[in-house]
Symmetry: C2
Subunit: 339 residues, 2 copies
Amino acid sequence: MTLDLAGWAALVPSPDASATAAARARQDTLTKPSGALGRLESVSLWLAGVQGRCPTIQPSRVRVVVFAADHGMALAGVSAYPAEVTGQMLANMREGGAAVNVLARQCGATIRLVSLCDEYPRTGRIDREDAMTAETAEAALRLGAEIADEEVDGGADLLIPGDMGIGNTTPATALIGLLTGAEPAQIVGRGTGIDDVTYARKQGAIIAAAGRASGLANDPVRLLAAVGGPDLAATAGFLLQAAVRRTPVVLDGIVSGAAALFAACIAPSAKAWWIAGHVSAEPAHGEALRHLGLNPLLDLGLRLGEGTGALLALPLIQAASATLNEMATFSSAGVSGRA
Amino acid sequence: MTLDLAGWAALVPSPDASATAAARARQDTLTKPSGALGRLESVSLWLAGVQGRCPTIQPSRVRVVVFAADHGMALAGVSAYPAEVTGQMLANMREGGAAVNVLARQCGATIRLVSLCDEYPRTGRIDREDAMTAETAEAALRLGAEIADEEVDGGADLLIPGDMGIGNTTPATALIGLLTGAEPAQIVGRGTGIDDVTYARKQGAIIAAAGRASGLANDPVRLLAAVGGPDLAATAGFLLQAAVRRTPVVLDGIVSGAAALFAACIAPSAKAWWIAGHVSAEPAHGEALRHLGLNPLLDLGLRLGEGTGALLALPLIQAASATLNEMATFSSAGVSGRA
């Protein structure tokens, strides 16, 4: 059965405006000049809205879901690493040795690895052929949604999409270019750290992919099938369903950014449930966030993916919650107000 | 006895270059593209250097020292809050209700409150008269150094300078202007959130203070006496002595930034021991950091002080340490290197 995208989008609720208003009012009673906690205050308002309560609950059941896939572009010389690294890094993640494992341990988050490598064959080279069929794109969108449901039903109170897949910045950049209208020359990045020759090859591939898909802007599933991948599709489904399930999401890098941009094309209101953990060194990621109207919390020149940048932002979100909830008020502390 | 500033400066050691080099080499063996953790990698190198070891030890005995003082400028209508708020906020900090308390609890740091309000009288209005005598400035520099010694001897493995004092952004801005040559019009900020009339008054006061002190650039203690305060002096002494004691420091906002700029004039090599936690909404703070050559970790529009911005950056430093220490290497995880 064809996926009913409009019906899915209609299920996305709005955050709770009264909880947001209560957080705004509470912020102005706390023992600090109004607005002095800067971005932390706006994050606390967002958290109140998506949790539907003020005081907020500090997110403590944080789940990272890493979607991994084999990309045909990895065989086309657009990455600094060989294609087999995808599977090797998944094994490393299972053993707890990757950056995402270390950072999740630091903040008490847990990780679920979703390898799409077996279920879905390596994608097509998007400069020459579609990445996958429309049926595969739909199936992966559904799978991502099911995983979001499972995680929310399992008690997760905040979700983070992660990624692993050599070559995955090529489809992500192509998708962002097509959805934002940005010129490839302006947004193609160095991925894992490619040299000039590889960069030229990557840029050429993205231009070719964009050319092949240029007529598909109004057919999201076919667009995703043409230049995306099952990981991008599953992440998009995961992000959409997280919004349906009223669960906050911290976005990570270019792959989750591309998936978010795609998901927001289907359901613009979903982005109210997401916050941008960081902006990466990939130019396309910044472009995607600007189009989404999401202001990243961190800018640390990261270009690793996996969910790492989102995990680094998590303590800021927890701090936003704690300050809103725990600071004394001017009246409770007996502090004079403005002169 | 007059303080021997040159002798003090000569005691500042350099971080351990061999530990930094070991961290650089180790980063390149970890299962990620070289440089993919961006700023986190450079922070790990800094931490290795200041700790003199690789692997590093994750800072876990973090101490915030809040220096509070009564500023004469608070009576001159340059703040949105009345002067008595300084003492009221100190009481709030003792009760655990201020933002600095909440954020310290979040990351397991402890706080020491150092009120200079009793030992040192309210400072002079720096637009008309010196803030304090040169003797007071020296005594406060020494006090800050003694406190750093006490904290390091007590086991602190990372220090954070905090501040509390209505009116304190006025002397901090004046000091930064004099030490950087920046025009007051370019660097005066809104402090606690002042209106246009108050802002004009604050700017006029800083111009007057800078005029009074313009001949003192080569006499640091007299400069500090003219436009500073005992809190700025104690913080500068604290920062210098932390460097002497080979103890890393995370700088906070405009007040610790002004003190750091002053301390770096006495001992330029001391800044190798400091990292900038954030850049605040106060323009003078960014100017001070640029002059120090310190690149802030966070930019969240904070303007609260107390040590809050430094505490928010602490998880990033801990994450830098953890990724350096705990990630698998390409060889240990059996991951292929670059193609």
